[in-house]
């Protein structure tokens, strides 16, 4: 099953490599990984999408917690959360296709952020399903290039309280 794991880490060099190394060294799968700053400049936030059975996920969470630079690990999938991904899609757009590209962009409430006589670059953000749907619609026009951020996710506020409580019980 796919899981989204949110990790707070020390903002130090080498930390990304420690986290990535843990996954590769133990044969865990990384579907996507994103890193960014937080409000505290000494910390970074990682979101990792991975999959595995319950035992593997338990190991992943424990192994991440064991890393010295990891401050906090939350398996968001255990509770309510919201997720987003962003993609930049460069699509061929000539003649009639230009109008079609604009229409699709409109339907998905995406934005054109760059244009040339033969292409548009579209920015879309949303749940993975939405991004994938848009890519499918644009495909017939000819996609030149796609870059995706990987997913980021955050717990819904009520759910967050619950997780903390559960974690305390589990750890004693």
């Amino acid at each position: 099953m796919q899981r989204i794991i949110s990790i707070q880490v020390e903002n130090k060099f080498g930390v990304l490599s420690r986290v990535a190394g843990l996954f590769s060294g133990r044969g865990f799968n990384i579907e996507s990984l994103s890193v960014g700053m937080t409000t505290d400049p000494t910390m970074s936030q990682m979101t990792i999408v991975t999959d595995g059975d319950e035992r593997i996920i338990e190991q992943i969470v424990k192994q991440l917690n064991k890393l010295i630079d990891v401050i906090k690990v939350v398996d968001l999938t255990e509770n309510e959360f919201v997720e987003r991904e962003m993609a930049l899609i460069k699509v061929h757009a000539r003649g009639d296709d230009r109008a079609e590209a604009l229409r699709i962009t409109d339907i998905f409430r995406a934005r054109i952020i760059d244009s040339s006589p033969t292409t548009y670059t579209v920015e879309i953000s949303g749940e993975v399903k939405k991004i994938e749907a848009m890519i499918n619609l644009l495909r017939p026009l000819g996609i030149k290039e796609i870059v995706r951020t990987g997913r980021v996710a955050i717990a819904r506020e009520e759910a967050k309280m619950l997780v903390q409580k559960e974690k305390k019980v589990a750890e004693g």
Partner: protein, 587 residues
């Protein structure tokens, strides 16, 4: 007053109680070695190879319980530490390893003797640091010792660029350390401990399965209190040997691939398995799906990742083994449990175990012509009365040492368990000897393994570390030969060592003493002679090249299905051989 990075390093090591460093200098660490030149409180043991320094530091740490320290140069010096780091990491040994690095401004330029040791060692250290500013150095050293010695111990590496060793700053050693992202759980969950006590009270056929964690947390007293109070038989892993007295009536000896029959059968049949400071390693469990199939499992360990990694657990308790056992014993003491009653209720279980012990005792066929390797170990045990620190290398001799020497004290058996590093035993023995100059330290080795770090004989002689090496010389990479005999139809591909150097002359060439026994009746004399000598000694025992280690659980097989002797040949042209149940697992 301002100190240089080198001086700060040394002052900080002294603050951590370091009295011995194992190492070898080179360009970028000359400043540090220079600062050590007049240092009275720290003894530097110059080794002949950095791998030697690493295993010495580990031997020192395992024998004393204090962290071991190694100091090496950049590049090849640093890369030579990798096996030692991995060994220490897998066996949870606290080490602080200082590697020199090229000057900060040259890092990344492929400078002479530059190696990205922080990158290389990331997966084989508990943590590592690159020091970028001399102002951080004292804090980093403090953190390194803290991380190495707390929680599940392990090696920590500090990479120290040359310019940092010369840069100056004000020195103050921090007296406290706290790392917000690192807080190992020490106390066990009280409710879980109560559940464990209840399970122990109910069990009819319990077994304690004791691993290296009991040694590491110094819980030998607590484990024997528990075993005696609740009358539970104890089996130990290779790393756990000595944590509970091997001559105690409740001891079942080692379990696993070359474990004793009674230990493996007891674990297979038990209704409650209490794993303490152990991690259900594949060499212990054999085929996991058939390991301890009908029991409740209590697992006490400081490392949460060890729990449910390989095996189901009903009552997990994360915490320091010693703390948890203390509490558990307290709960049990205050409960209804009466030792007398327990002896009564567990009588059928003990009767069964006694029967197993009688049915399949540890045994070998003594011979009058040729020395049996097991006989040598028995003799060493007898003649030393078990009063020795014993280290081993890896192979058949290691398993025979684990089977035939009875360890009554914690920290007296040092062996490479997780990594299985040939070449570990001799330097580890030197490290233990450096820590305890008056103790008898014996390295039981093989003719293959001893040659992997024999260069440290120079260190032994010059530093006056009178380690006694017993080579069980079978002219083979014996454990490999055993597997080839059993699973590869006796095709001895690259396992025959043929002519080793003359170990007696080799010892003498180094200025040590060499002795040899070729017949069973010479064994005792050689051992007694070696024990008398105040110098390092090599005892070369020419043993039966065809002897195999039994019992044996073929890799991937179930522990209850042990093999006790060589299979009989099927016919003249079809040699005897076994099917390895899982050829993925290797020697």
């Amino acid at each position: 007053m301002k100190l240089t990075g080198s001086q700060i390093l040394i002052e900080s090591l002294k603050k951590e109680g370091v009295d011995t460093i194992f190492g070898l200098p080179g360009g970028v660490v000359l400043g540090i070695f220079d600062a050590l030149y007049h240092e009275k409180d720290i003894k530097v043991i110059l080794t002949r190879h950095e791998q030697g320094a690493m295993h010495m530091a580990e031997g020192y740490a395992k024998a004393t319980g204090k962290p071991g320290v190694a100091l090496v140069t950049s590049g090849p010096g640093a890369t030579n530490t990798v096996t030692g780091l991995t060994n220490a990491y897998m066996d949870s040994c606290p080490l602080v390893v200082i590697t020199g690095q090229v000057p900060s401004q040259m890092i990344g330029n492929d400078a002479f003797q530059e190696a990205d040791i922080v990158g290389i060692s990331r997966p084989c250290t508990k943590y590592n640091f690159l020091v970028k500013d001399v102002k951080d150095l004292a804090q980093i050293i403090k953190e390194a010792f803290y991380i190495a010695t707390t929680g599940r111990p392990g090696p920590v590496l500090i990479d120290l660029p040359k310019d940092v060793t010369f840069a100056k700053t004000d020195y103050k050693y921090p007296d406290k350390v706290s790392i917000r992202s690192y807080n190992p759980t020490v106390q066990g969950n009280k409710w879980q401990i109560k559940q464990a006590a209840l399970a122990i009270g109910k069990a009819k056929k319990p077994v304690l399965y004791v691993g290296g964690g009991v040694v590491l947390s110094n819980a030998h007293k607590e484990i024997s209190d528990l075993a005696e109070m609740t009358q539970i038989p104890v089996t130990m892993t290779l790393m756990g040997l000595g944590a509970f007295s091997g001559t105690h009536p409740l001891s079942l000896g080692m379990l696993g691939m070359h474990g004793l029959a009674c230990a493996n059968w007891a674990v297979h049949d038990c209704d409650l398995l209490i794993a303490v400071g152990a991690r259900f390693d594949d060499r212990v469990t054999g085929k996991v799906s058939e390991f301890a199939p009908n029991c409740e499992v209590i697992h006490i360990d400081i490392d949460p990742t060890s729990i449910r990694k390989n095996f189901k657990v009903d009552i997990p308790i994360v915490g320091d083994v010693r703390q948890v056992l203390k509490e558990l014993n307290e709960v049990l003491r205050n409960s209804f449990i009466e030792k007398g009653d327990l002896i009564e209720t567990r009588k059928p279980w003990f009767d069964q175990i006694e029967e197993w012990k009688r049915e399949k005792p540890l045994q070998f066929h003594q011979d009058t012509q040729i020395i049996k390797p097991q006989f040598v170990i028995q003799k060493i045990y007898e003649l030393t009365k078990g009063n020795a620190i014993v280290t081993t290398d890896v192979g058949q001799h290691q398993m025979w040492a684990a089977q035939y020497f009875k360890f009554n004290q914690s920290r007296t058996f040092l062996s490479s368990g997780g990594l299985g590093t040939m070449g570990y035993g001799f330097p580890a023995a030197l490290g233990a000897q450096a820590a305890f100059p008056q103790q008898l330290v014996i390295n039981i080795s093989g003719d293959g393994s001893i040659q992997m770090n024999i260069q440290e004989m120079a260190t032994a002689v010059i530093e006056n570390l009178p380690v006694k090496i017993a080579i069980l010389n079978n002219r083979y990479l014996g454990m490999v030969r055993q597997w080839q005999q059993l699973f590869y139809e006796q095709r001895y591909s690259s396992s025959y060592l043929d002519q080793s150097p003359d170990f007696v002359k080799l010892a003498e060439a180094y200025g040590a003493v060499g002795l040899r026994a070729t017949k069973p009746e010479e064994v005792e004399g050689v051992i007694l002679e070696a024990l008398k000598v105040k110098k390092p000694v090599i005892m070369d025992f020419l043993v039966d090249p065809n002897e195999n280690v039994y019992p044996m659980v073929p890799a991937g097989g179930a522990n209850h299905a042990m093999v006790f002797e060589d299979p009989k040949p099927v016919s003249e042209d079809k040699p005897a051989s076994m099917q390895s149940p899982d050829s993925i697992l290797t020697a």
